[in-house]
Symmetry: C2
Subunit: 331 residues, 2 copies
């Protein structure tokens, strides 16, 4: 009826409701006006039963409010909306794990794809709870890590290469005379943090430094603040602190300046990881290893679309590199 009244084909009506499909602006406007008059919307529940597509993309995160996650979810939601998908959020438990009840519940929504991290739910568990979606994992491959088993579950990958950015950071610290380097770690279970530590250890060795002094953090401000105080009051301090993420670096900076009375970068140099929007704020003005948000989101959307186009394909991989952004905390 909409097609008849708007004097267009049924295909055009379907395209008008898909923001991804190309259609002349005036034609789309006419169709949507007629649809509104008739109180018509394509029902996705009904359509999903036929097409097998829900246009829902599940995203599993430990928390939405952490800077990196919130900026990623924001950019991803914009990109997915432009492609006709909606973001469906799932939160892990506070210990970062995901219980099977929530996974069963997620399966009920039958998402077209799910984006997850290995530390939250392993591929072998997640794939058991998905009907047809092939999950996407963000991963940090390390030189010398054991190869994946050949007959494991099928999943796609966004591989982040951390060596370039970390090597640039250590070269800068070296150039400014830092000798003792501390690593302020992320959450103990985090694969990202473990990969950062292993890469830093490798780079320090390549450049003739001692191994890093380890200060245990959890990606949060508070723990980083306390860990930095411990590091300097009890364990002899360091010339340079490499933090597992920018928020930890903010905690380290505030502890160094406001609690320990040290100057940054004069007495101690600090480097973060991520380059979140707050890193250029004047109180921090942080030198950090950038892991480009928009490149990352584009790569994730490409993986989703490639997989939907070819559900039977072998594991798909996108690879991104990192680089140093130099600001005021090393110099």
């Amino acid at each position: 009826m909409v097609a008849a009244l708007a004097q267009v084909s049924r295909v055009a009506v379907s395209r008008a409701f898909n923001p991804h499909a190309s259609l002349k602006a005036d034609k789309r406007e006419r169709i949507l006006r007629v649809a509104r008059e008739l109180n018509y919307t394509p029902d996705r529940a009904a359509r999903a039963l036929v097409s097998g597509r829900t246009h829902l993309i599940g995203v599993i995160v430990p928390d939405v409010y952490s800077y990196w996650e919130s900026q990623e979810i924001d950019a991803l939601t914009t990109a997915l909306q432009n492609e006709g998908f909606a973001t469906l959020l799932f939160k892990t438990r506070t210990d970062y794990s995901m219980d099977e009840q929530l996974l069963a519940y997620m399966r009920g929504f039958n998402p077209d794809s799910v984006i997850a991290f290995v530390e939250n739910v392993k591929p072998v568990t997640l794939t058991r709870f998905l009907d047809r979606a092939v999950p996407i994992y963000v991963d940090y491959p390390m030189a010398g890590a054991p190869a994946e088993p050949e007959h494991g579950p099928l999943y796609d990958r966004l591989n982040i290469l951390q060596h370039s950015g970390i090597d640039q950071a250590v070269a800068l610290l070296q150039g400014y005379g830092a000798r003792r380097i501390a690593y302020l770690s992320g959450h103990g279970k985090s694969r990202a943090s473990a990969a950062r530590e292993a890469t830093l250890r490798q780079v320090l060795e390549e450049r003739g430094f001692q191994p890093p002094i380890l200060a245990p953090g959890d990606f949060g401000y508070e723990t980083a603040y306390q860990a930095t105080i411990d590091l300097f009051r009890v364990r002899g301090g360091a010339d340079g602190v490499f933090a597992a993420n920018d928020v930890s670096a903010f905690g380290a900076l505030d502890a160094l300046r406001h609690e320990l009375g040290l100057r940054v970068p004069g007495d101690v140099k600090v480097v973060g990881f991520d380059d979140i929007a707050q890193s250029h704020w004047k109180s921090y003005n942080l030198t950090t290893v950038k892991f480009d948000l928009h490149e990352r989101v584009r790569a994730l959307v490409r993986l989703i679309l490639r997989r939907l186009n070819d559900p039977q394909a072998e594991s798909l991989v996108e690879t991104l590199d990192t680089r140093l952004v130099v600001r005021g905390t090393v110099g």
Copy 2:
């Protein structure tokens, strides 16, 4: 078949998949194990066609990465998961408006409820694009504002009373001798910012102050930073800056200290609004008007559940108050 093999009723199977329903832990575990062996999940698409419920809650936001929104979405997603719902995110355009195509698209997901702000999409527009959901609006009622039309669209409300918190802030500024008060505003279209300005104006008058000097912001750090420089370099400055949100207050603090060489709270006092998690970080340690996140989320969840229990009810209202949290930027 799941019910038969697990030796339970069909109702128990249904309850096992609803995190909200009470069921003995061992029974739930047995049912989920059998369901997994049979590769069974209740299909929400099919169920939604019968029950008319999708268990999806739409949330319309201008951006996910702003602190207040991300903290709210995080807490809301946790609370909704506990009640058996999932959060479906929709982003407005960059000018904060929402186009009708996206609304039509949202309607296709047939959410059980939608949470929105008046500045993003008016109730009269939004309700036209919802089949059965009654939207929830977060609102800031002001004394003397015109009453709502009686025959307008039906929507529920979370009313935030701002007077108490703002009055406490101005009393504290007054006690420390501030006379010239500036208001660093939010985005021009924001009803929250307009209500904060009107309430501040009223409180200042009640306490015998001049009206506030207006500095135009947009809730963001950068604009607040520049607006504060303009205020002090061109327009004679102020003794106290009341910012429309905490992030603007951070921008003001950094501009005062790092660009203008002024001391806070010695030369200028600063007050924010929201009490986001970053407000107690040492570089800011901000005195701010708190608008309790967890109370807010509980009130939103109550509105959703009350409405689903009684779809025909008159407009439902929850009311929350604000209060001052005193830290280091006034004193």
